[in-house]
């Protein structure tokens, strides 16, 4: 197992390099000049511009710039934001908990509903619930996130007034960040109503961000279950006189989990991408919004570092998925 893990970690190297190169190139391909953006409307003199170009190292050839950046990254230095002058690491870790909190909630929402729904649909294949769920899932999957978010805001925040429109918590409440997770911090603060407010702020972003993973997980669970349900060992389980709950929920589901875990892992990647839209719409102060803002500001180190960190997250999730395979199915464990 440890040898396998090391081997997997080695394959991360080329991916890591690739992501670094792509993020470096991508931001430079975009038209716009970070120095001009920084100067704002007042503009700046020729001499000052030339000085800044030298200061940021833009006068050097691109390969040299990339080499400088890469050596920095390998030493754990992602650079400093042009705008806030704070290290990219610091910014990332102050904002990441917000995204993580939202992503975890969205994933719980998606798995918590998608998995049982898929199982029930497979067991009742061809019946009304199955058909209804599969069409709903298709709609959910095809829905543009931004449009879905606006729709939810109009209905639940605008017309019904049930949920707030944006932010993580009402401005009434103020407390120091302990964990960075608003749900935990608000509960710890002991302020009356703070926790409820945090929950209310989370509901809509969670639903919006979780919709696509929910649809994907439900469909994948259903098809994986259908395949497993026709296996010989399911017939054996039924021949033992076991209850349908035990047969479907244990004998079948455990075998069906392999493909489902795969899509859950892939969904985490989509989730981080989806977070960019969702966070922007709901003014959620997470890394999605941070990335978008940085692109507008042409804040090169932040965009590069942010992309790199997000990609690393996805790689870690994939590795976790691989480890889970082995835990679920002993046959896969043995093959390694």
């Amino acid at each position: 197992m440890i040898r396998y893990l090391l081997a997997r970690l080695l394959t991360f190297l080329p991916t890591f390099l690739g992501v670094t190169l792509i993020s470096f190139a991508f931001i430079r391909v975009l038209p716009g000049d970070p120095i001009i953006v920084m100067a704002g409307e007042r503009g700046l003199t020729e001499e000052r511009y030339a000085e800044l170009v030298r200061q940021f190292g833009f006068d050097q050839p691109l390969p040299v710039q990339f080499w400088n950046y890469l050596t920095g990254v390998l030493q754990g230095d992602l650079g400093t934001s042009y705008v806030t002058k704070r290290p990219v690491w610091d910014e990332f870790f102050s904002l990441f908990p917000a995204t993580l909190e939202l992503s975890i909630c969205a994933m719980i929402f998606a798995v918590g509903i998608g998995l049982p729904a898929g199982v029930i649909a497979a067991v009742n294949r061809g019946k009304l619930f199955d058909r209804a769920l599969m069409s709903t899932a298709l709609v959910g999957y095809s829905m543009p996130i931004f449009w879905w978010a606006l729709l939810m805001i109009i209905v639940f925040s605008g017309n019904l007034g049930w949920t707030p429109v944006s932010g993580r918590i009402d401005l009434l409440y103020f407390f120091d960040s302990v964990t960075g997770f608003m749900l935990i911090d608000s509960a710890l603060s002991g302020q009356n109503g703070a926790f409820t407010s945090a929950v209310r702020h989370l509901i809509l972003p969670t639903i919006v961000l979780g919709t696509i993973p929910l649809a994907v997980i439900a469909r994948q669970t259903r098809s994986a279950m259908l395949e497993v349900l026709s296996e010989d060992y399911i017939r054996t389980a039924r021949a033992k006189g076991l209850s349908p709950l035990r047969i479907n929920g244990m004998h079948a589901l455990r075998n069906a989990m392999i493909p489902v875990i795969t899509v859950i892992g892939l969904s985490v990647g989509t989730l981080l991408a989806g977070a960019i839209l969702t966070e922007t719409i709901f003014s959620w102060p997470g890394i999605g919004k941070w990335m978008v803002d940085s692109i507008y500001r042409r804040d090169y180190p932040v965009v590069q570092g942010g992309l790199l960190l997000i990609a690393s997250m996805v790689m870690i999730v994939n590795l976790t998925v691989d480890i889970l395979y082995g835990l679920i199915n002993p046959k896969i464990r043995a093959r390694k």
Binding site: S230, E231, D232, Y233, R235, T236, A237, R238, A239, K240, G241, L242, S243, H251, R254, N255, I328, N329, P330, K331, A334
Partner: protein, 323 residues
């Protein structure tokens, strides 16, 4: 008293091209402690009939029967919940493919103990003790260690032994073995059959052995029911059946046994079992039968009296040849 009585069992499958009748008016009776062999080619409905009895057919199947009773209880009228109390406890079944019949995600011990908990309500310790005992009964060496093994760590023969241990765990009164040796090596086949007959003698349970191997039948069964294209065509004790088969199909099956061959080329039965679209109007075996005439091709044959092995034939064979 009869343990299992099935009369006029039919099973239809809804397929994309219409109804398909897999089992047609089949009768099965089994007495306590009896070994019945059901013989027939692939597609003759042997397995499907037994799966219908177990309630294991997919939802596309429609099962009808005039009678289907086990130990006096009408299996047609009971709820799924009641059936689950009988299936796995009083009636157990083992299958053709032992390797794929065990769940790859759970240990052998877990899968054996599961039924003990459900049907006998044994506690942890008692379950473990019984599982060990069962593993020994089916001849698995080093049972304590094997209980923690996963199915992929076992050979085919071992897997089938585990399946048998699982099936007899709750001391069933009827064990259905659906071609239990087909997927196994020839050397293992004999071992598994011996194991089954030994266990049958030891526990006194009834055994239905589904097979297409007449050799297996001769060695194990006491009574034989021959199945063709979903119908029972003959039913006799094993001795008389091998001596004087009354149905031409049975006779043809026996003639195809290598041990009985008189020439260098084995006799075969020409053609295949009729399918969904080429079902004959008269006797289902008529197109392949050496003795068939116009009557056979146009009129379904009657069932002959027990003296003639309940043969479903217009012209049952006798010792002197065609009757």
């Amino acid at each position: 008293m009869t343990l299992l009585r099935i009369r006029n069992l039919s099973v239809d499958f809804a397929t994309a091209s219409g109804q398909f009748r897999a089992v047609d008016a089949m009768d099965v009776t089994v007495d306590p402690g009896e070994i019945l062999a059901i013989v027939g080619e692939s597609g003759s409905g042997k397995s499907v009939a037994m799966l219908a009895l177990m309630g294991l057919l997919p939802w596309t199947a429609t099962v009808t029967a005039d009678e289907m009773s086990f130990d006096g209880q009408d299996l047609r009228a009971i709820t799924p919940r009641t059936r689950r109390r009988i299936v796995g406890k009083d009636i157990a079944m083992i299958f053709q493919e032992p390797m794929s019949s065990l769940n790859p995600c759970f240990t052998v011990g877990f899968q054996i103990k599961e039924g003990l908990k459900k049907h006998l309500g044994l506690d942890r310790k008692a379950r473990h003790a019984r599982a060990l005992e069962l593993m020994e009964m089916v001849g698995i060496p080093d049972p304590a260690r094997r209980l923690n093994a996963f199915p992929h760590q076992l050979s085919g023969g071992m897997s089938q032994r585990v399946m048998i241990a699982m099936a007899i765990a709750c001391r069933p009164r009827l064990l259905i073995a659906d071609e239990p040796t087909t997927a196994l090596d020839v050397t293992i086949q004999a071992q598994i059959l011996d194991l089954l007959t030994d266990l049958q003698a030891e526990t006194g349970m009834a055994l239905i052995l589904i097979t297409h191997d007449m050799g297996v039948v001769a060695e194990t069964a006491r009574r034989v029911s021959v199945q063709y294209a979903g119908q029972k065509v003959e039913d006799q004790p094993v001795g008389p059946l091998f001596e004087t088969p009354h149905h031409p199909y049975t006779a043809a099956l026996l003639a195809a046994l290598p041990e009985r061959a008189t020439s260098r080329v084995l006799p075969t039965i020409p053609g295949v079992v009729p399918g969904q679209f080429d079902r004959p109007r008269g006797c289902l075996f008529a197109p392949r039968c050496a003795h068939a005439d116009e009557l056979c091709r146009t009129t379904p044959p009657p069932v002959q009296p027990p003296g003639m092995g309940l043969a479903r034939c217009h012209y049952p064979l006798t010792e002197e040849g065609r009757g």
